[in-house]
């Protein structure tokens, strides 16, 4: 119920958080639930587990475009709803971006074939993160989705993807790169005298540091982008304002393990600092709260009632059951104290959704549906 209310009216839902906490599963479950309720949903994922990817048809070649996922009968889906999933293909998205803003076919090819571009998919930092945002923007422009759920790259540093648009603006900003992109660097040291004393000095020192050849390659690379800067900048600014839009929502996903919670808190701070719209923490794989300790006698008695008369079980089963019960209880107690400590550091209790642990991997649509139903308290 709570979760449903949080998501109401949000067109773009972004799941972020540390790696290995179930961001993709959560994004898929949210998408599935919203589709079941009659909305047209696209789920954009980055790096899904193979079996989940297979069941969402993401293992196929065409997966970089929205691919329909059939909703099972037991979903009781409203007829208007539909679920599409797609996987990020950073290389082709970036290529498309270059193609869109290249001033000529020649320029496009020069960039695409540059060594740095090929090695790093663009030597520009935070490329993958930026690309995720770019793809999101493309989907929004399509105008055929009620909701888009975006699963972010597993970056350790929240800032990497939040900063990506801003950073690209900096990097392609002409004033910053002008001196590097100037053609004199292409011709090497011979024309160094045309630089001002300061620039010449900087250039010389940088050469000692990273080597003239590499500097030359890099400046050639930057030089290739000449004329495209305005387009890039415009795009990055549009993505930036999209992230701040009132119908965008960030969910921070975390496990209840301390290291994961430490990173979740860092994500929260980064979001707050950048004034991004925070929706809720989603704590994944949560066990039931601990129960009071149990006496062996109590357990033995409950197995000795007449209903179980005909059931044969090993003599020491009650003891073993008790051991398992105690183990899980201790774990549940650890989980509770971790979460209490986590929330205690906030001046108010932030919205948090507890997603239950299941007894199996979430690797197919029916299991995803079970997970979604528990998540949304259906």
């Amino acid at each position: 119920m709570e979760f449903e209310r949080r998501l109401a009216g949000k067109r773009v839902i972004i799941t972020c958080g540390p790696g290995g906490v179930g961001k993709t599963t959560l994004a898929a479950a949210i998408g599935l639930e919203l589709a079941r309720r009659g909305e047209r949903v696209a789920v954009l994922t980055i790096d899904p587990a193979r079996r989940l990817a297979t069941s969402l048809h993401l293992a196929e070649e065409s997966a970089s475009e929205p691919t329909p996922v059939a909703l099972p009968d037991e979903a009781n889906a409203a007829p208007t709803g539909s679920l599409h999933a797609l996987m990020l293909d950073p290389k082709s998205t970036f290529d498309r971006l270059v193609e869109r803003y290249a001033t000529s076919q020649e320029q496009y090819e020069k960039i695409i074939n540059n060594k740095f571009y090929r090695t790093f998919s663009g030597a520009v930092g935070g490329t993958q993160e930026f690309i995720a945002m770019e793809r999101l923007y493309e989907l929004l422009e399509e105008g055929r989705w009620d909701r888009i759920v975006l699963d972010t790259p597993p970056t350790v540093h929240a800032l990497d993807f939040l900063d990506a648009p801003q950073r690209l603006i900096h990097v392609v900003d002409r004033s910053v790169f002008r001196w590097l992109a100037k053609p004199y660097l292409l011709t090497g040291k011979a024309s160094i005298q045309v630089l001002s004393f300061g620039s010449a000095y900087i250039f010389k020192t940088l050469t000692t540091f990273i080597g003239g050849r590499m500097l030359q390659d890099l400046s050639e690379y930057v030089n290739n982008f000449k004329g495209m800067f305005d387009g890039f900048k415009q795009r990055a600014e549009a993505v930036e304002s999209l992230l701040h839009a009132p119908d965008t929502l960030f969910l921070i996903v975390s496990s209840w393990q301390p290291n994961s919670l430490i990173e979740a808190r860092k994500f929260y701070r980064d979001l707050a600092r950048k004034r991004m719209p925070f929706g809720a923490f989603v704590i994944n794989r949560v066990l039931d709260p601990p129960r009071p300790p149990l006496e062996l006698e109590r357990l033995t008695q409950s197995l000795e009632t007449e209903e179980f008369e005909n059931v044969e079980y090993p003599e020491d089963l009650p003891e073993k059951l008790l051991k398992e019960y105690d183990n899980w209880n201790r774990l549940a107690a650890r989980q509770r104290s971790n979460l209490q400590a986590f929330f205690a550091e906030f001046p108010f209790k932030p919205p948090a959704i507890l997603a239950p642990i299941l007894d199996r991997d979430i690797a197919d649509v029916p299991t995803l549906l079970v997970f979604a139903s528990r998540l949304f308290g259906r």
Partner: protein, 319 residues
């Protein structure tokens, strides 16, 4: 394989699999063996101090316990250190590298940041004391999660190919030689018996062995459920659960106990399947680390893990 005879150990794996816990358990064991060591984290919220009971690591190398030095490498600080080693003058550093344009440029080339991180690791492995002996017996790197971790290891080769000569080329060549030397380096994999971590470690194993050609150490599998219930128990539990689910008013306590047990059985079976898969696909000495059900996970838990590792990899021909 005696990991403690090496000079440089990496702990690699997907995020959240317990790399830091394994790094800290290895750290404890190395200290017990009288090693002087440096524990390295790379640009991350500090994750080792709570396991070791030491002050948090920051960008400066510091002795946090007798013989244990600790650092959390921050690329900007490492960049400055590296540049100062080369150009020697603080004034020049400020003039050139704190120039706005240069700063943005350096930040924008992620490869350079990774290069200085690796450069710092290389520097500390090679660092000598006044007598000319290695300053540290062992450097343990709690590596960034898979994607970034692999990128870090791949970087020297990429740089050698991309640059072809000059200082970066020379540095990268030295780093690569160190990373490929089985007498110096062992790359250890850490995983959990779950789908994604297992798939990633299988993939990572192939890449490190066949593409990077770097020496692998052990496979640490965290969170392995110990078997409490045998086949007979499991069958009985299933029968009991069926009975309970058909009862009009089942005993809620019993119902919960059975549910907990059934959950554990499912997880244990899954664990078994993934262990088989790991055994099949990753031919490395494997160390199974037990799932810790304690009410807290701190120094005591790390001690227990280190005892298990000790049995497995402590002796020269172990595992």
């Amino acid at each position: 394989m005696d990991l403690f005879a090496k000079r440089l150990l990496f702990t690699m794996g997907k995020g959240g699999v317990g790399k830091s816990a394994v790094s800290c358990a290895l750290t404890r064991l190395a200290l017990e063996r009288g090693k002087k060591l440096l524990l390295v984290q790379v640009n991350t919220p500090d994750k080792t101090s709570m396991y070791l009971g030491t002050p948090p690591a920051d960008e400066n190398v510091r002795e946090v316990f007798p013989n244990l030095y600790s650092v959390n490498i921050q690329p900007p600080a490492a960049m400055k250190e590296y540049v100062l080693l080369q150009v020697r003058l603080e004034m020049i550093y400020r003039l050139v590298f704190e120039n706005r344009a240069v700063k943005h440029f350096l930040r924008a080339v992620p490869a350079l940041n990774d290069l200085v991180v690796l450069g710092k690791i290389y520097y500390h492995v090679m660092q000598k004391d006044d007598a000319g002996n290695p300053l540290y017996d062992l450097v343990i790197v709690d590596a960034p999660a898979t994607g970034h971790g692999l990128q870090l290891l791949r970087l020297p080769e990429v740089m050698i190919e991309a640059v072809q000569r000059g200082p970066v080329f020379r540095e990268a060549t030295n780093m690569l030689a160190m990373l490929r030397d089985p007498a110096i380096t062992a790359i250890n994999l850490v995983t959990l018996p779950e789908e994604m971590p297992v798939a990633e470690s299988i993939e990572m194993f192939g890449k490190i062995r066949d593409e990077l050609h770097m020496p692998l150490g052990c496979l640490f599998v965290n969170g392995v459920y110990e078997r409490v219930l045998d086949d007979d128990d499991e069958r009985a539990i299933e029968t009991l659960r069926n009975k309970v689910s058909n009862m009009a008013k089942p005993d809620p306590v019993l119902e919960h106990v059975l549910r907990t047990a059934a959950m554990k059985i499912s997880w244990r079976r899954l664990t078994g399947r993934y262990m088989d898969m790991l055994r099949r696909e990753i031919p490395l000495p494997a160390v199974k680390l037990p799932f810790i059900f304690d009410e807290s996970f701190g120094g005591d838990a790390i001690e227990r893990l280190s005892r298990v590792i000790d049995c497995d990899v402590g002796c020269p021909d172990g595992v």
